[in-house]
Symmetry: C2
Subunit: 400 residues, 2 copies
């Protein structure tokens, strides 16, 4: 009998203590990860499953990190990030939104993901709920579940005209006395939907009157294809509004593996986010923060070229994938995903597995983004054009 | 009237929604940070407030990060860390503890801090409690508060013989039906106390019989001065025991600003920690993970020299600081802190502020480590010997 067995035999009371919180046991596995984890780096697979480019971070940012390492920027920093990075971000936001913005409203985080988790920790208690526009990147809503809250997803509708439409009344109707936030990701992962400025204003006014937060995941705000950038809640929010905007270096500056993002919030929440950064991971990697300054200050040309490339890719994918007989693809206006329905496909996870194994193309199953996503697949077009073409060649026999 | 004021006037219901969770409003500010944040980098201040060395990360680790950047290790990785790093850590742990250890029991995290937060997320529900040996690094217990749990601190006692003593019966008596974990940090920050192997076995047996976790913060396990290393719960835990051990690259490899750590846990918890990493920040910075492999594989000589240096510093501090007339300093057996009582000092925060402003020495106030720490100050001796000497020179007029 092992010591463990002996202890269990001696103490029947062990069983009364659970192994994990039920919320954690019940946490959904990322179904994107379910496809990707075992196949990362596998020869012959074209990986279009994650929201990340297939080209590395530009050299000028990598060189900034090397310089920071050589300058021994390897020690702890302030919880909310090094002051020059917070200043750089505030200046960038002021220019982007054409409004005053002080560093007191900026907290640097170790990724957009971390920014979302800190936000849920700050506002979501057990029994609270968060209403979110769906289909939605699963991670946004799972942070609410980790904190013991509930989520209510109000799905966009695919229109006959080949776009996506939000029913704002339905979104507002989903809110009740225990709603602490409405979560909006625009431009949207996975749909590419972009929320209009008028819709944003209507939602903000409604939430403001009720003390409900708008949690705006705006990591794709620069990646809009038919306007210079997408509308942002930061264009219209008053400095003390209950608006928390999530941003990240991952998408606009191609820095996915670096883990750097930021929160924009009312200055009065600064102390809370400082403590939450402290108790979650102190602060982001120090030399990565220094590289972030360079990204912000010298990255505009890079972002312009990125958007231009993704726009061409969007057009290619809409043209080729959208023309396949089994496919219905609403045109994405922003971000870098094609979220397309496949006629006759009812098990997107199984189909995605089949595509990896047999066609050598890695896509994310629609079900990963909630029930409303079933019947669809997500293809990231943040890839080289010829890689995309090869992937489309491989998909054609199954989708055309 | 601003839009905000208009909305508030129109909607009295706003007030019913709180700005933040009460647990977050009530979260203690780190009183170490209260001293340090405004004074970081200030000329003329000798900063001994944080648990970090004043010498940078060794070159061989920095060079590994540069090589990883040049090799474009800048993309997302597996949630639990890149497989070669997990294998390297498992091999290191197997050698250190002289027991089999598979990578299935290792989850890489973005710091020891993050590892602690993920652990609290996994097991602490509102109403649960965690019993911890104190005085304790505040961050350990604050993660419990973020999750809505309670903490019960059982303080070590300073002995007449100049050491620290744990009353194990008192620790066990503090547990009840809602206790999900006993948290032990050994070698201890701030006291330098090292838990004995016999005490560890008794505690583990007791917890095992009741299904209570042992959360062992072992980030200083290599930094013991009178034995080759400190005893570890991983020396005695069965593979499926409810033991979660926290480790970090910060202290042993002088990588505080890098944000890299790991969890060792029962293999059955791997899926839960994968999800928690995913929903907290995906995974640690990719090129930092690669540098971690080099640290593990080539770092033993560095650690030996570090321990030798800290041992000499410990002896210097015990000899000089311990001899000052107002000071009582139990001899630290591990970690790199002097946690000393000052006769007649009742406000450690105020005294620490005074020391920064007037003596130019940055120490952490004892109260930061709980009520049992009041009347004391913490000095980190992970510093160059001449820096320490200068700091002691500056302290002498106030303490001698």
């Amino acid at each position: 009998m092992s010591p463990r067995e002996a202890a269990a035999a001696a103490a029947p009371e062990e069983a009364k203590r659970r192994l994990l919180r039920p919320e954690i046991e019940g946490l959904g596995e990322s179904l994107i990860r379910a496809i990707a984890e075992d196949n990362m780096g596998r020869d012959g697979v074209i990986p279009l499953w994650f929201g990340e480019p297939d080209t590395p971070t530009p050299d000028f940012i990598k060189q900034a990190a090397v310089r920071a390492l050589e300058a021994n920027h390897v020690f702890y920093t302030q919880n909310r990030g090094i002051p020059p990075l917070r200043e750089a971000i505030a200046g960038y936001a002021a220019r982007l939104h054409d409004r005053p913005m002080g560093a007191g409203r900026i907290t640097v985080t170790a990724s957009g993901m971390s920014a979302i988790m800190l936000t849920s920790q700050a506002i979501v208690a057990p029994g609270d709920n968060v209403v979110a526009v769906g289909p939605v990147w699963p991670n946004c809503v799972e942070t609410v579940h980790v904190m013991g809250g509930e989520t209510r997803i109000v799905p966009l509708e695919a229109t006959d005209g080949g776009g996506w439409r939000l029913d704002l009344d339905r979104l507002l109707d989903a809110c009740d006395d225990r709603t602490v936030a409405v979560m909006v990701n625009s431009p949207s992962n996975p749909t590419g939907w972009v929320m209009g400025a008028g819709e944003q204003r209507a939602l903000l006014d409604w939430c403001r009157a009720r003390g409900i937060y708008v949690v705006a995941d705006e990591v794709y705000v620069r990646l809009a294809f038919d306007t210079p950038r997408a509308p942002s809640f930061l264009d219209i929010a008053e400095p003390d509004d209950r608006v928390v905007a999530i941003n990240s270096f991952s998408k606009s500056w191609s820095m996915t593996g670096w883990r750097l993002g930021w929160l924009t919030h009312a200055a009065g929440l600064g102390d809370a986010f400082a403590k939450l950064n402290e108790y979650n991971l102190a602060s982001p990697t120090t030399f990565v923060q220094h590289a972030g300054i360079t990204a912000i200050e010298e990255g505009d040309g890079f972002i312009d070229s990125l958007v231009e490339r993704y726009r061409r890719n969007r057009d290619l994918v809409v043209q080729r994938l959208g023309a396949m007989r089994r496919v219905r693809l609403p045109r994405p206006d922003g971000a870098f995903y094609a979220f397309f329905a496949v006629d006759g496909m009812t098990d997107s996870l199984g189909f995605a597995r089949e595509l990896v194994a047999e066609a050598g193309v890695g896509l994310a199953p629609g079900r990963a983004f909630g029930e409303a996503g079933e019947g669809r697949l997500r293809l990231s077009f943040a890839a080289e054009a010829d890689t995309l073409s090869r992937a489309l060649d491989r998909l054609a026999p199954r989708l055309d």
